[in-house]
Amino acid sequence: MGFFQTNLPYILAGISVGGQYALIAIGYTLVYGILRLINFAHGDIFMTAGFMMVYLSASLPLWLSIPLVILLTVLLGFLVERIAYKPLRKAPRMSIMISAIGVSYLIQNCAWYVTSGLAKQFPVIPWISDSVTVFSATTKVVTILTPVFTLGLVAALVLLIRHTKIGMAMRAVSRDFETSQLMGIKINSVISTTFIIGSFLAAVGSILYFTNYTTVTPTAGSMPGLKAFVAAVFGGIGSISGAVLGAFLIGICENIIKGLGWTTFSDAFTFALLIVILIARPTGLFGEKSMDKV
């Protein structure tokens, strides 16, 4: 029980950040499932949402800036897909990945330019930033709220995918891109929807994340983005529940490692996990193998 007691703040922090990683991870896994693309720019979209919040809330009331941030982030994700990924759909796979890297590079440089490299403070959102005590550990409300929010959104998403027409279209496209097109599915709508959902979740995740870690810098999105991607790979690319599971695992483990005093390695843990899963079970926890026809 002693371990639990001393590490409770870390475990709670882990669950919280895990939920935030999960919201980002879903974006990665959905896009990869459909386009077989690792959207390197996704983490930077997450970071941009943070900055938008900083600037908008300076001149607008919170009840206006929050939905506006979400809307603008969704718009950004949509535009990135249309401008940088759609033209390369027929190109070899490396080209589109390079485009994603280029977009990531561009967004980070823009963020640096706009902020002149100075870190910005995320606005304090009342109530969720308040302190609360859980089992004698003090933490913010957002820490408790995040997992609840995350699981709620994930449940809504799973319902969408299972029971709506667009959800079925998404599933079909991720199985077989070309045949889906031949069957009359509007590929562009499906792909745009995927990016919209991913960006929406990233925006929500960003609000929760930066309420906790209040400094926003141009590179603030790289690490969470990379970790979220590892979570997606761990869970099995294309599997939402796998990505969520992986994200919570990473969040909790990296915070326990911090609690044990090995802070330098908390980031490396994620990558070690990645290597292990890629060697032991490359298709991830819930992924499926596919065979190429010779």
Partner: protein, 358 residues
Amino acid sequence: MKMKNKIITAVVLIMALFVLLLALERILPPSSMLFVVLKKGAIYALVAVSMNLLNGFTGLFSLGQAGFMLIGAYTYAILTIPMEARGMVYQYFDGGIVPLALPVILAIPLAGLVTAIFAYLIGLPVLRLKSDYLAIATLGFAEIIRAILQWDKLGPITNGSNLLKLYPVFTSVIFPFAVTGVCIAIIVLLINSSYGRAFKAIREDETAAEAMGINLAHHKQLSFTISSFFAGIGGALLAMYQTTVQASAFRATMTYEILLIVVIGGIGSVTGSCISSFLFIACSEWWLRFLDNTIFIGNFQVPLLGPGFRKVVFSVIVMIIVLFYSRGIMGTKELSLEGLYQFLRKRSEKKKKGDVPA
């Protein structure tokens, strides 16, 4: 052109290049931006070509270059810091535990060798993976390397999170050019050999390559290790250029920049990577510098110009190239005297027929 003539022309051109460089060093002040571009450009050209060997010629999409450059840089620095200076550099670690200081001429190849050994070990599990997963796995390993080299417990060797300095550096631009030149020459020899053909076969169609008796694991490992060897040497050169080296600077962004250099020059073109490297460095460090200054025309401040704008414009240019000129400057072709000669001849023929306006 006959083989003998080709070799003579090549030698003459190389000598002319070195004469030119020496002349420039006499004429221009050492702080001139041209030298920054030439030195850094040469170093990045070597790393870009090494990355092209792996990504462009063998088709293995690896994003671990920054990690390998880091190993090379650190190996070089650790092995060459003169004994007298060690106390100062390793001030938190009682002078560190490395008992020797090697001459530069040994340390550089050794840097490459150590990197190659690490690459071999990393390659064992990682090269079996599909292309996208390979990218992320190598990226992950680069980050792990970066974390390990900053670890305090290894401080007596690596100086922990402090930077390494006071190791031998170069002043003349001839040095990086010479080292890079030799290395790239070796890579070109490799590419044009039977093994180079095997690498290209793997890139084109792994199944067919296997059916032709090419052992995939062995050849992928060869390409990976050799590429990393040269990336390590590039890292050592970079350490010499920067005069101080710190693990935290070797982030994924560095790998992305090399990748963009390779793409802009043309995946599969060695000369393309070289040209593009110099252009890339020139643009990002020199030619677009004016965009970073706030310029006033009278009392009117030109909008948008300011610190950081240079990188924004640069990123946009890169995106345009990636989207519209994805074959890069050279595509998969190499720049050669014959090619240039044919190109000019065709143009003058077209002019005579009136197709091309004079």
